[in-house]
């Protein structure tokens, strides 16, 4: 079984987002980066499925050369190889999907057909909710989104999606595209030997063809903040009566 996992490198923003002076991106000089949370679960699921069924897993990302870090992170927990589509700036969803489709077709021409392609349901940063679905259409494959569970049985995937407090079940034939959500599994921590092995795994670097953004970013801005001060109810256990008084005032007790 061949599995492709598409991931995105995103900054770890912490308590407060600071923008660059040109308002085109988040100021990331003092920030770390990580795999976007939903996709981290996609990586874990791909590794588990290959452990259970045999085969090979590949991780793909479109991003700056530094996105190699996130490819190595995925390799450290067991992904076999990597594809890095190098770009110098953020691409819109259509351009991203087109570049991924081209890469998957090149893989097919080279003899690798993916049974399953994982995406995150939406990326943590841009939240466009569409790259996986666009790729599925271009490849002529079914796409199930927002998975919290996937089981492979006899060439089909049984997928569960959370909706309110229930789960909707889908059943699709492979090959398929799926988008997943955090909570699908609890991703493992990379081990030290895993990290060392990751350094030696192969990465294909490609430069995809750009296309003009049809959803064109003009500027980023912070939402208007509620400029209200925080009311200190007290310090330590002595604050308890003030908290109970607040609960009473707002009618929850």
């Amino acid at each position: 079984m061949n599995i492709l996992v598409c991931i995105k490198r995103v900054p770890v923003t912490g308590g407060r987002i600071v923008l660059r002076d040109d308002e085109q991106a988040i100021e990331t000089r003092h920030l770390g980066f990580a795999i976007s949370p939903h996709e981290e679960c996609g990586v874990e699921e791909a590794v588990r499925l290959v452990e259970q069924n045999g085969g090979e897993s590949t991780v793909l990302t479109l991003g700056p050369p530094e996105a190699e870090e996130q490819i190595r992170d995925a390799m450290a927990v067991g992904i076999n190889r990597g594809i890095l589509l190098e770009t110098s700036e953020e691409w819109d969803a259509q351009a991203t999907a087109a570049a991924i489709v081209a890469a998957v077709e090149e893989e097919r021409a080279a003899g690798t057909e993916y049974d399953l392609i994982f995406f995150g349901n939406e990326s943590a940063d841009t939240g466009n909710y569409q790259v996986g679905i666009r790729v599925a259409h271009a490849l002529g494959r079914p796409c199930v989104t927002g998975l919290k569970k996937i089981e492979l049985v006899g060439g089909r995937a049984r997928c569960e999606q959370e909706i309110d407090d229930q789960r909707d079940v889908y059943d699709v034939a492979l090959p398929a595209v799926v988008t997943v959500k955090e909570g699908l599994n609890l991703p493992r921590y990379p081990s030290v030997p895993g990290r060392l092995r990751a350094k030696k795994k192969p990465i294909d670097r490609k430069t995809p063809n750009p296309r003009p953004a049809a959803l064109e970013r003009v500027r980023l801005k912070l939402p208007p903040g509620e400029d209200k001060p925080t009311e200190i109810l007290g310090h330590g256990p002595e604050a308890a009566p003030a908290v109970v008084e607040l609960l009473r005032q707002i009618g929850v007790i």
């Binding site: 923003t13 912490g14 308590g15 987002i17 949370p37 969803a93 349901n121 943590a124 940063d125 939240g127 466009n128 909710y129 569409q130 679905i133 666009r134 259409h137 271009a138 079914p142 796409c143 989104t145 927002g146 309110d164 407090d165 229930q166 789960r167 909707d168 889908y170 959500k181 955090e182 909570g183 609890l186 049809a214 959803l215 064109e216 970013r217 003009v218 500027r219 980023l220 801005k221 939402p223 903040g225 509620e226 400029d227 925080t230 009311e231 200190i232 109810l233 007290g234 310090h235 330590g236 256990p237 604050a239 308890a240 908290v243 109970v244 607040l246 707002i250 009618g251 929850v252 007790i253």
Partner: protein
């Protein structure tokens, strides 16, 4: 020419998010000088005519097909695409819900047009100007949407639903979209109940008491569970707690967890990272309990108690018991 609103409905009954979409669509149509049409897909849709009329819809398109009884995102998008072919709208506007965004992504793929998800503002034109949500609402993006037809979803609860000055009686036009097996390959085949353990649902709880890294361990949640129990509320946690394996992901509040909207959110040992705060923007009030006095400088927190949750929470619980709560 028109502006077309895609309405989510349950047998013709439309909810708050759909009326927000209608209002947003009506404003967009007025700015473009065009009528507002709406489309409902699936059984019972014609019952949406009356509420749609209150928001100024002139024509309601009702798509019915035996394959559209269970949710099937690509089939819904195919039905809307067929209508787009006949109606040539300048924009299709829908809900920025999980399902709305999914259907619009299919529409974007079918039409090969851009799709702007989770807009909060939109101005029509040959190039539409939109403001959309990034980072679960912690950041906004101003963007230009190119293409002959604009595909936009409205971020839920970001636009007030306002009925039109005069209600209209929309014309109802029925159609049966042509759907292939491929369009119907992905559809809901079963709905299963999840075990919530009989507790209060996080998403609908009136009170949520959450713990973050400051809880210290899985056992460290005991005073949080005790207080939540006394208040009839739900227990939540931050992403750091889920990753540490102290609580299940079903308890996680945040951008990639559950979005909550309680009367009061009591966030204990939680610093207020953007990932977490994106999940509690719907809370009416937030009380932070934290050893770090810096929480008082976090704009999202309305109230704060400076102290260790392991001492503060038992004191609150004791006070509540004195007041007669069990």
């Amino acid at each position: 020419m028109a502006v077309l609103a895609l309405l989510e409905h349950d047998n013709g009954a439309i909810g708050d998010v759909a009326t927000q979409v209608l209002s947003f669509g009506a404003a967009y149509a007025a700015a473009a000088g065009l009528p507002l049409h709406a489309v409902v897909i699936g059984p019972g849709g014609e019952a949406a005519a009356e509420p749609a009329g209150r928001f100024g819809v002139t024509t309601l398109h009702v798509a019915e097909h035996e394959g559209l009884v269970a949710y099937a995102p690509q089939a819904i998008a195919r039905g809307v695409a067929e209508l787009i072919g006949r109606l040539s709208p300048v924009a299709v506007i829908g809900a920025g819900s999980e399902r709305g965004n999914e259907v619009f992504a299919h529409l974007g793929a079918i039409t090969d047009l851009p799709f702007a998800a989770n807009c909060i503002e939109a101005a029509p034109g040959e190039v539409a100007q939109v403001t959309r949500v990034r980072w679960g609402g912690s950041l906004l993006e101003e963007a230009r949407v190119h293409g002959a037809l604009k595909l936009l979803t409205l971020a839920p609860h970001s636009f007030e639903a306002r009925p039109a000055a005069a209600a209209a009686q929309p014309a109802v036009e029925r159609f049966t979209p042509v759907l292939s097996d491929v369009d119907l390959a992905v559809r809901v085949v079963e709905r299963v109940q999840t075990q919530t353990g009989g507790g209060v649902s996080l998403a609908s709880a009136k009170v949520v008491v959450s713990g973050g890294r400051g809880a210290g361990s899985a056992e460290g949640f005991a005073p949080i569970e005790e207080l939540a129990g006394l208040l009839g509320g739900a227990v939540g946690c931050s992403r750091a707690v889920t990753i540490a394996g102290w609580r299940s992901h079903t308890d996680q509040v945040g951008q990639t967890g559950t979005k909550i909207a309680p009367e009061i959110y009591i966030a204990c040992g939680i610093s207020g990272a953007t990932q977490h705060m994106a999940g509690c923007k719907g809370a009416k009030r937030i009380l932070a309990v934290n050893t770090d006095p810096e929480v008082a400088n976090t704009a999202d927190f309305d109230y704060a108690v400076i102290g260790d949750l392991h001492q503060v929470l038992p004191a609150i619980s004791a006070e509540l018991r004195k007041a007669g709560l069990k």
